[in-house]
Point group: C2
Chain length 87, copies 2
Amino acid sequence: AGDSIAGQKVMTQCQVCHGKDGIGKLSYTPNISGQKYEYLVHSLMAYKIGQRKSQMMSSVVKNLSDEDIANVAAYYAAIKITVEAPQ
Amino acid sequence: AGDSIAGQKVMTQCQVCHGKDGIGKLSYTPNISGQKYEYLVHSLMAYKIGQRKSQMMSSVVKNLSDEDIANVAAYYAAIKITVEAPQ
């Protein structure tokens, strides 16, 4: 698993769309606060290898090392969320 | 936007992996509680047209109408989450 503290530096490249707290700034930008670490790594790698297509994400992810990806995934996964069970 | 009440019926097909509250049951199953409605619709459609690949998701989504997709997206998007801002 990645280092969430080291991930804070990588997060500075993500926060413009995803926010420091993981709440997406645009209507189609996903919330990633407290998202599953493995799912975040899976998604970032999918953008890195072109399995998922997004100009924005590919332009950011292409400069990230696998370690950067693990660390920023750990950063966002570590954010605490509470969920109100639906009625 | 979809109808979150009608979405509850569709959710019964999702809850085995995603839970009634949207918290993923498996380490790689994403949390979708309070996720952005447009992102959920985008992701479900991506699985439906094969842009995103997942045996599990494709097998479920292929039986969903566009209205089902809008309604279940509205259901999960309506779940209230609170995020603790990271220090």
